[in-house]
Amino acid sequence: MPMDRYADMEDKLRILEDLNMMYIRQIALSLQDSDIQKKIDHEIRMRDGACKLLAACSQRDQALEAAKSLLTCNTRIMAYMSELQRMKEAQVMQRVARRSDGTRSSDAGPMDDRLPCKGKVAISDLRIPLMWKDTEYFKNKGELHRCAVFCLLQVGGEIHDTDMVMVDRTLTDICFDNTIVFSEASPGFELRVELYSCCSEEDYSAGSAPRKLASKLSSSLGRSAGKKLRVAMDPGACSPTSNAGAATLLLPGPAVAGPKYHLLAHTSLSLSHVQDSFRTHDLSISGNEECSYWVPLYGSVCCRLAAQPHCMTQQMMSGCLKVKQLGGDPPSWRNVYGVLKGTNLFCYHRQEDMEANVEPAFTIAINKETRIRASEKDPHSKAQSICISNQYGGEEVTHTLSTDSREETHRWMEAFWQQFCDMSQWKQCCDDLMKIELPSPRKPALVTSKQGSLYHEIVIDTSDDISTVTDILTRRMQELELRSQLGTSPPWMSLFEESPGGPRTPRLARHSPRSPHRLPHSPLSSLRCPWPGLLSSDASLTSDSDSPCSTSPCSRHRGWAEPLSLSSPRFRPRTLSLDAKLSTLRGRGYGGVLQCSCQPPSSSSLAPIPAQCIPQATLSCSSSTSSNSSSEGSHSPSSLDGTPFSRPSSARRSLRNLRAKLDPRNWLQSQV
């Protein structure tokens, strides 16, 4: 069967991925680097979470956000894995080199191989202009074609994503308000900006598994990755050393149905693009008009790319110095506390002044034009002195510094050389300190539906109005619970609660089917309250006794998708007409049947599934929390056909049945 084959392939992929992780772990262990391993593990957990969320969410916005997180996590995982591979290679090469010439390779490079300091690189105010054709503006072809876009920014191993923006033809530019700061960038950094987009109108719901998997495999295993995979599968093919570099099995990850982002445009920025103001850069666009994810870009991106090398923001060197006073013979020396930071050597009277933020006594500029040399040994002092010459106006001013010991002088010289190296590498960033505004901590985006008011949520359907309202109210309660995570109920709930303490919530894990279902006491007490029909906290009557709870399951079953198990702990709020319906129900003598199924279930294996208390109405949703009574026949075997109880209007009922059957939000269960 083709289905099985695809299932096998999925399993294969999953197992290979596990093996890949094992291999990566081995490498990390051998490198004795647990840092990257931890990062990879973290990203994999995030990715799993995003996959689960993607599979569980129903709203398009949520799906798009989850798909975005998934893409970011995948990219990060690939980056970490590549880095791990590189480190491993470097280690192997080193070992090989050592083995071959038998000597230990020198750890520190020669003095000339000085590494420039790292710095912070920040990109902000990204703006990508769009160029809609004039026909687009005037086309009124139904809905707007909308795309969800976001940017992925990468420097070395650090990958950040911007927020998602919905683009349609009413926008003239795509603006990302985020400021993204990369904290440890070298001057030779390459900031890769990638713009991803996804059409916001596709149907992401599961197609047939083979088609989905086939498309997943074909799209994610590109030619080169597929080649690597094939090469790796064939063990006899190549030598390991050559393979070690090329064949990191970067598997595509779990196959998930959902929106998929595609690369729309990209560009690379580097030190030469850094400036303290906005600049426009070119974008390389991939894709064309035929693609679903196409957005007509003008072709450029404007942004502000700033850099703060550490030498400009941090103290590179500090210590006591002696500055020769001009004039006088023998020359006198003044003791100062010098701090080398940025393009200046600040000289304070005392160290305490610097800590107290008092103005320095004087400042010596150390910039590109400064010349520093160590002078010959002064016959009067033991140590060498350092001469710093600057041009102020047309004049050359030289300061002479000295320290107490040779080592100290050496250290200062080192610091000055390092400063020169940094300045030559960071170039324009060292002229002046560029301002970088740190982004304020972002609150996690609350993914709520666009219109959050109850009014908009209600779907007005003449025959279902009451149940819809109660349904929505229940859902709101569940949402409130999710957010508060406490047992406190909203203030208006007290109108409906019986027990003064409020119903206690049974919190049950979704996948612990065998744990006994502990019900609070309130359901029993509820039997004696004016609403006799309520069995357990899970049960709820819909407005119409005849209704097969067509709307209730959807609110209940939604609970499965939520991370916190919400076994609909509260009574549903009731309305007056509901009350009336119930009394008629009671009058018809259903009370007896209802009560017998209300025994508190001692061991129920399906806590989240609500008990459907109206026997004849539970045709479609008949699983109940009371395992004892329901199976033996007090409930009729659920079928939409046979029912022992009479119904007031069978026509309406069959309509409801039909609606229940056709309602895609239901997940029917039948007892056999």
Partner: protein, 142 residues
């Protein structure tokens, strides 16, 4: 050394590939189980003692038992204690692949129910897959 590790790894990959390619639904040692349930007569009904959920006309995202949330197969959502199904070894969470030879992977919910409740059949023979088995196999290969 990296060469040894890598070769080992590739060898394991190859072995795994061979193993996986042998997997098919007929292999009894792997992922599926056959369960025979004798119906119990209760009054005028013949019951099996379990509940099912799922179907191609149902929303697969609400299935708490499926690994893949787009799986529209028929799953066992409840097993009555001491009922015929439990006695026969059916477990909650099992995915029903076949019933008496009829395929259950591409049926509507109602069709599934009907195939299980045929009045002229005393015994149903189910072919089910169980997640725990798969996991066990996977873990044993690690």
């Amino acid at each position: 050394m990296v060469e040894w590790e890598y070769n080992n790894y590739l060898m394991v990959v190859k072995v795994l590939n061979d193993f996986l390619s042998k997997l098919d639904s007929q292999c009894s040692c792997v992922l599926q189980q056959r369960i025979e349930i004798r119906k119990l007569r209760q009054g005028e009904h013949l019951i099996l003692g379990f509940s099912i959920g799922g179907g191609i006309d149902q929303d697969p995202g609400q299935n708490p038992f499926s690994e893949d949330k787009s799986d529209k197969g028929i799953y066992v959502t409840r097993v009555t204690p001491e009922g015929p199904a439990e006695v026969a070894g059916l477990m909650m969470g099992d995915k029903v692949m076949q019933v008496n030879g009829w395929d259950m992977t591409m049926v509507t919910h109602d069709q599934a129910r009907k195939r299980l409740t045929k009045k002229n059949e005393d015994v149903v023979r189910l072919l089910v897959t169980r997640k725990s088995l798969e996991q066990a196999v996977k873990h044993s290969m690690m």
